[in-house]
């Protein structure tokens, strides 16, 4: 019943275009639309297609709640001009498409690189890697690695992945490393 309602709010030709352009199936797109409009306050739900959802609302989604990279994900996928990391429906679809099972490794690694690039400078330098490790080890004090351990870890990572030895990891190097991984 609800599906029928939301389907009428996305024009049919747009729906088929979204299917062309993302890795999602029709049901998934409609479900995404439903979830997206639930994030909006009631008055704006009619116009969900062109509305923007503020970051705080997006972070209430269960999939993002426990994710240590939640802020970066919102930032990378948001096309907001004001820099408040709000997301429109198309951004939301982009995000779901990249995280879906059928997305290619190229697309995923491209976005992963940008998610890990905390200072948005286009490369992963030491600061980015440190920030990354701290995200992965959780928020508690006892969980964090000591300074020496951190140094050692980053050193090892750079040895493995930094092919041109410039102390940073660029996008091609990153893609080369993760494309070999079966877990990515």
């Amino acid at each position: 019943g609800d599906m029928g309602g939301s389907a009428s709010l996305i024009p049919q030709d747009l729906l088929s275009e979204y299917q062309e352009l993302t890795f999602l199936s029709k049901q998934e797109i409609l479900l995404a639309y439903k979830r997206f409009s639930e994030l909006l306050p009631k008055e704006e739900r009619e116009d969900a297609y062109s509305a923007r959802v503020p970051k705080s609302q997006i972070l209430t989604l269960p999939e993002l709640r426990a994710n240590p990279f939640q802020h970066r994900i919102c930032h990378v996928f948001s096309t907001s001009e004001t820099g408040d990391d709000s997301m429109s429906f198309e951004d939301f679809l982009d995000m779901l498409s990249v995280f879906s099972d059928s997305a290619t490794s190229d697309v995923k690694s491209h976005y992963a690189f940008h998610i890990f690039d905390f200072n948005d400078d286009g490369i992963l330098d030491r600061k980015d890697l440190e920030h990354l490790v701290n995200c992965l080890t959780g928020q508690g004090e006892e969980c964090q690695l000591s300074i020496t351990e951190m140094e050692q870890l980053i050193q090892n990572i750079l040895e493995e992945s930094d092919f041109d030895k410039d102390g940073t990891i660029s996008l091609p190097e990153f893609q080369h490393v993760v494309s070999r991984s079966p877990d990515f």
């Binding site: 352009l21 269960p62 992963a112 890697l129 490790v133 080890t137 959780g138 494309s179 991984s181 079966p182």
Partner: protein, 817 residues
């Protein structure tokens, strides 16, 4: 045309010189340059139209008009209108762009195909779209205005081909658009552009001969693509239990969910097997075969009739259940049945062989797919990077699981750092070695002990059967199944305890554990089979040594008994009309196939019961106990001793695999087995999903499932292979029972094939088949297959080596830079 090429080539070069583009980038091969030159010629010319006024341009135009017979000027004939206009439009748009983009188009940026070049160009035109569109309209108007005077010109083959190429490229672009890491807006605009272009020119391309056919072909392709897309959507909607599994994934991570995905996949396979056996074996016999009670083999013997409907008998799969389509013995050996002339024995045989074949095919296909996804396999050169970049499980949506995941990541980092830093501890290596040898010895003892126990128990059950099962209670009747299930439950825990002696790295310890459990289940299954086979062989040897005489004796006994009904002479020939005797009273020959089938069915059912009871007691009651007794207990039950149970992935997966092995083994003798298994898997899914969400906690060591996938598939394949051996052996070497089943009366089961060839196919077919099954042909064929295997192996090795070489080269080049 050659002269044309040269002119174009030189023209291009001049253009390039004029534009001051980087020559270094144009090092394409001459041939491609020529081809590109041809294509670019048009673009180039169009570009020049706006930029330069010069004799060269006029020369080009004249050149073009010579080729196309157009008047000087840029008006095209009606038929060429649209292509030219498009090119002009493209030209206009391009002319507004920077040099870089023109260079892109001219040169060949390495690593970018033509598609991406065009795509990038188009994407950069976003801001200039309005201007370009306006220009388009203007050109259109001007074009149409002055077109009215020109005549129809035929499009040359070359142009047609070029246009087709462009349209194909656009189509390819549309298809790969979702792979590009652009924002949705960009993708939408590019898509619209490309779609417009394709729509416009597909019509135009159809001009000339075969226009109608081309348009028809285009329409069919579009319809086909739409159908494919709808079918994909439909298929995704059909996948059962998707939401359940996603929920489990978010709570427990991908490893636990992988068990359920595996379960679902097995369910699919069993559905197909069920469809085959049900539709082609059970239903035809039920509908078209002789009904119950018409033949001796289809009727419950008089002696058992009293208890035939009891629940206990039915649960044991004897009584009415035994004399029904569920088991081998019911089927009649009539060559054709019913008005459809359905070949029942042939169908039975083919379904049996076909199920095995289908299972092999699908398991191998899944393994190959998994191997593909795996990439290069075990690559230890990126340990730390992978830990860093790929260890987070994005499917986790539950804070508790997330905390566990954080802790495990931290631990793994610390472990890896420590391992990297320290050299291997040399101390106490003798003690470690001794402990490991001891542990292996203990494991071997356990395996041998369990094997012997099963053998002993099966023998005992045969004794019981000989003396009549009614004299014994429940335990004796179900001894074999219970013992096997209990062994399967307790031995893995024992192995776990033993492995704590070994002090291995957790991943290696897990592998040892899995290997031992595998050996245990395998050993159990095979001892069971051997014990059964022993019994069958006894009977078979009994038959083989007394075979014809035995048959004759039993048959003679039957005739005598019949004759006694006549109260008179023994009819030597059967010309006398057969007396109507109740089939329930006819003495029966033994039927070992049904017996085997029954054993397998009983095993499956008891296995199912054991699993459910274990879940209910081991997980659910334990959880209830911990939850409610925690208030009045001395120590904290939730963190202390019992606590909530974790979901045992490897145990469950192995159980599933072995269960499937049993089904494969037994389904030839009991066509009902796939049906029972479908029911079992269906209820298992719901029960285990509920139990996992309700009673289990996320594991402490959350690990990813991907590496184990192919391991489980390999085990499944191995089990499949082993399961088919007994069935194949019986088909080929043991004579079927003479009094029951679809192959009764034949000396070997596979004779049904030759019988079919004789009767149902024309005679030359039989001859051909006879030649084909001649060893003189088969042996060279086998030789050929072995040779091709060897060849493929050699080529794959050489590819792997080439891969490694390239990798090394890559690394050294990078290091150099």
């Amino acid at each position: 045309d050659g002269s044309d090429d040269n002119e174009e080539g030189s023209a291009i070069e001049n253009e390039e010189n004029t534009k001051g583009t980087d020559k270094g980038r144009k090092r394409a091969t001459p041939r491609t340059r020529r081809a590109h030159a041809r294509g670019r010629d048009r673009h180039g010319d169009d570009e020049n139209e706006d930029d330069e006024e010069g004799t060269r341009r006029a020369g080009h135009r004249r050149h073009r008009s010579r080729r196309r017979g157009r008047a000087a000027g840029n008006e095209a004939s009606d038929s060429d209108m649209e292509p030219t206009k498009a090119r002009k439009n493209q030209a206009n748009q391009k002319s507004k762009e920077d040099d870089e983009e023109e260079e892109d188009e001219k040169g060949g940026k390495s690593g970018k195909g033509k598609n991406e070049k065009k795509g990038d160009k188009k994407s950069d035109k976003k801001g200039k779209k309005e201007k370009a569109n306006k220009k388009k309209k203007d050109k259109k108007k001007s074009g149409s205005g002055s077109d009215s005077e020109s005549e129809e010109e035929p499009i040359t083959e070359e142009e047609l081909a070029k246009l087709k190429e462009e349209v194909e490229e656009k189509k390819k672009l549309i298809a790969t658009l979702r792979n590009k890491p652009w924002k949705m807006k960009k993708k939408l605009s590019v898509l619209k552009e490309a779609q417009l272009f394709v729509e416009k020119f597909e019509g135009a391309l159809g001009k000339g001969k075969g226009k109608k056919f081309y348009a028809y072909k285009v329409m069919m392709t579009k319809k086909w693509m739409k159908f494919q897309r709808d079918f994909e959507n439909f298929k995704t909607a059909c996948i059962p239990w998707e939401m359940k599994i996603k929920e489990i994934e978010s709570h427990f991570g991908s490893s636990v969910a992988s068990y359920f995905i595996f379960l679902r996949w097995m369910y699919g396979i069993n559905m197909i097997l069920f469809g085959l056996t049900f539709g082609l074996v059970m239903v035809p016999e039920a509908l078209m075969g002789k009904p119950y009670g018409s033949l001796p083999r289809k009727t419950v013997p008089r002696a058992e009739e009293a208890t035939a409907m009891n629940f206990a008998t039915l649960w044991d799969f004897s009584g009415f259940a035994q004399y029904s389509v569920l088991f081998y013995g019911y089927y009649n050996n009539q060559r054709t049945i019913g008005w459809l002339k359905f070949r029942m024995p042939l169908s039975y045989f083919l379904v049996g062989v076909g199920s095995i074949g289908y299972s092999f095919m699908i398991v191998t296909r899944t393994m190959a797919k998994n191997a593909n996804d795996d990439g290069g396999g075990d690559d230890t050169s990126f340990n730390f990077s992978w830990k860093m970049f790929t260890s987070w499980d994005y499917l986790i949506g539950n804070p508790e699981t997330a905390d566990n995941k954080f802790a495990s990541i931290t631990t793994s980092f610390k472990e890896a750092i420590v391992e990297e830093q320290e050299s291997r501890k040399e101390e106490n290596i003798h003690l470690t070695r001794f402990l490991r040898v001891l542990a292996n010895f203990l494991a071997l003892c356990t395996l041998a002990g369990s094997g012997y126990l099963i053998f002993f128990v099966v023998r005992r059950s045969q004794q019981f059967a000989l003396e009549g099962l009614e004299n014994y209670g429940w335990w004796e009747r179900n001894e074999v199944n219970t013992v096997m299930s209990l062994l399967g439950m307790f031995c893995p825990t024992l192995f776990d305890v033993i492995s704590s002696l070994e002090n291995y790295h957790p991943r290696i310890a897990l592998r040892w554990q899995l290997g031992r459990i595998f050996a245990l289940f395998l050993g159990n299954l095979y001892t069971f089979i051997i014990a059964l086979m022993d019994e069958i062989n006894l009977k078979a040897r009994y038959f083989l040594s007394f075979t014809l005489e035995e048959e004759k004796i039993v048959k003679y006994n039957m005739t005598i008994w019949e004759a006694s009904l006549y109260n008179g002479t023994i009819p030597e020939n059967s010309t006398a009309p057969p007396i109507q005797v109740d089939p329930a009273d006819v003495p029966r020959g033994p039927c070992w196939e049904t017996m085997v089938g029954q054993e397998f069915v009983r095993l499956t059912v008891s296995d199912m019961m054991t699993t459910y009871i274990t879940i209910l007691i081991g997980d659910f009651l334990r959880a209830v106990f911990v939850r409610f007794f925690n208030y009045c207990w001395c120590w904290d039950l939730e963190y202390g001793f019992p606590s909530y149970s974790e979901f045992d992935i490897s145990g469950n997966v192995l159980g599933l695999i072995f269960n499937q092995g049993m089904i494969w083994m037994g389904s030839f003798y009991a066509p009902c087995l796939p049906a029972i298994n479908v029911f079992r898997l269906h209820t298992s899914m719901y029960l285990q999903c509920w139990a996992v969400m309700c009673c289990n906690v996320p594991q402490e060591r959350v690990f990813k499932a991907s590496r184990s996938n192919n391991f489980y598939m390999a085990m499944l394949l191995f089990i499949l292979f082993l399961s088919t051996l007994p069935a194949v052996y019986t088909i080929v070497s043991i004579p079927p029972s003479f009094d029951c089943g679809p192959f009764s009366g034949k000396t070997r089961m596979f004779e049904v094939i030759s019988e079919t060839l004789e009767h149902d196919f024309p005679s030359w077919f039989g001859k051909v088949f006879g030649y084909a099954s001649n060893p003189g042909l088969i042996l060279p064929f086998i030789l050929l297959m072995v040779l091709s295997l060897y060849y493929l192996n050699a080529t794959s090795k050489s590819y792997k080596e080439a891969n490694l070489e390239l990798k090394k080269k890559l690394q050294s080049v990078r290091i150099k830079n």
